[in-house]
Symmetry: C2
Subunit: 320 residues, 2 copies
């Protein structure tokens, strides 16, 4: 469920009146996303997305997120854009929450991941990294290596409720990751949450990327590692090295990576798996079972972490 | 949450290919409704609704529901219509469920009920009753007076968990309703679920009625009684007789009611309150707290029932 805030007719009419987007014809809550309330508006000019930012988003970060999509779009990267109201301001308030109207991106996220999806995503990710170049705002990645141990500390005592031995395994892995995490690889703005439901395809061609609400400054190759974890494991938990190879090669076609970046990939994939393992573990232990949000299985990411830990080098990802 | 079934890209593409509705550009799950899975499709020709009928809908009833909207529309009543595929068939199957593409009705349901909404609804309800005339399929109302006691029997033992004394109060009320329920009033096809979220307004003008999945043959005035309960109580549980008067007069302007119908209104309102009290009570006792459906408060309808029970006659509804 992704509608946490009910917007009244009067509030909506007054909000829309601030924009030059035509006459409102409908407004329906969208059952996607878990962080914010999203509505599909239609006006006589077409569809728009209305987003109300709920409590998990820090309002101070919104200028970064919205500015980034404007910067990416200006540099030719396809993503939804905040629509400015008549006064030139895009970020407003509705029902006591920060709110914005966002342009509608055609396409659908892929429920079944094909080889072509992976290849196209690799190239698009590299294009996004290049298109973000020159964006002047910065945002630290609170969910990178330095953020993992504090998060683990909040879940450590109860981790073994999910799987006996889990706390010890995470602790040992954190020791390793903190000791070996690279700092001298190319960095820039990354999306940091490129899961399939954030990438749209229209007639099998990638039409754009959405949901930049985890975007931050970090190692570029770490973004690729997140994608490898999110896109290249099959439902039976096996790793599809063909998908990985196509994704990495798609990336390399657009942005060459240094040998150091490629060699760091298994470590970055372990780190990425740790990041999602920890946030899912925390949510699992702290989401009441009555909540309307589906809890995601933390152990899915433990399996991924173990796979990468056993990986001798980038060759396991199909690289020659 | 109103998306119970996840539709894969391939399944959706194959489904849409059966229709002449243009090229699919997006598909988003809608967070409204509780019975079915609803998606907002957009194609290069505009928006459509895709509905997958989930287990609470009896597939045998679908020809009645879909045929009724076609009949109403042909007689000038605004409601969404099933779209026929190229082979002329509207009711199909997707992901193992009955499924249909429905035309998109502009407008939004009112979050705040105004006097004008009530007046317009009264007239529209009467128009709907007239437009349904001549529809040849019939469907019994399983949730009318004869269905209440069996439903109560399923909830009786635990009713007092919700409110001490509730079981006895319902039992006494059922005795009264069964003994006095009218049978000789004008009947026809009724919507039977005209709550505010099923009535759309576009720029303050009623643009249509949706969700005919409880429609059935029953007393026409009972449909008005359902509306009085659903639209004329305020958030503080008080009954707004001005709204009721405007709604009833709006109805009468379009379809005159007999004296017997008007005099039966308090009784029909008690019955309507009983119907929603019982279904909500059953759902309350049988919906696990982990379910993604918000349980509706049965006691809201107990208060409404008590109001109508204390009502001396239709004068309480603002009738002169």
């Amino acid at each position: 469920m992704a509608v946490y805030t009910e917007v009244s007719d009067d509030d909506l009419d007054a909000f829309i009146a601030q924009y030059d987007i035509g006459t409102l014809e409908s407004c329906k809550g969208i059952a996607e996303g878990v962080e914010n309330s999203n509505f599909l508006l239609t006006t006589d000019r077409g569809p728009y997305i209305l987003t109300l930012y709920e409590k998990r988003v820090n309002p101070d970060d919104l200028p970064f997120f919205l500015g980034l999509t404007e910067h990416l779009s200006a540099n030719g990267f396809p993503c939804p854009l905040p629509v400015k109201a008549r006064d030139g301001v895009a970020l407003r308030e509705l029902c006591g929450r920060p709110a914005a109207i966002i342009s509608f991106l055609k396409g659908m996220w892929p429920r079944k991941i094909s080889l072509s999806h992976c290849a196209q995503l690799g190239t698009a990710l590299a294009k996004m990294h290049q298109a973000a170049d020159g964006f002047t705002l910065t945002r630290a990645n609170a969910l990178s290596v330095s953020g993992w141990r504090p998060l683990f500390d909040l879940a450590r005592d109860r981790a073994d409720e999910v799987l006996p031995g889990l706390a010890a395994e995470i602790a040992a892995e954190l020791d390793y990751l903190e000791a070996h995490w690279p700092t001298d690889l190319p960095h820039g703005v990354i999306h940091a949450d490129v899961f399939p439901d954030n990438v749209f395809f229209l007639h099998d061609t990638l039409s754009g990327v959405i949901d930049f609400y985890f975007a931050c400054n970090d190692l570029l190759a770490y973004d690729l590692a997140i994608c490898l974890n999110a896109w290249c494991f099959e439902g039976d938990k096996t790793f599809n090295a063909t998908k990985a190879r196509l994704m990495i090669n798609g990336y390399l076609k657009q942005r060459p990576m240094s040998d150091a970046e490629l060699e760091a990939l298994p470590l970055l994939c372990r780190g990425s798996a740790m990041r999602f393992l920890l946030t899912r573990l925390y949510d699992w232990l702290n989401t009441p079972s009555t909540a309307m949000v589906t809890r995601k299985d933390p152990l899915e990411y433990l399996h991924k972490l173990r796979f990468h830990r056993a990986t001798p080098g980038p060759g396991a990802y199909g690289l020659g």
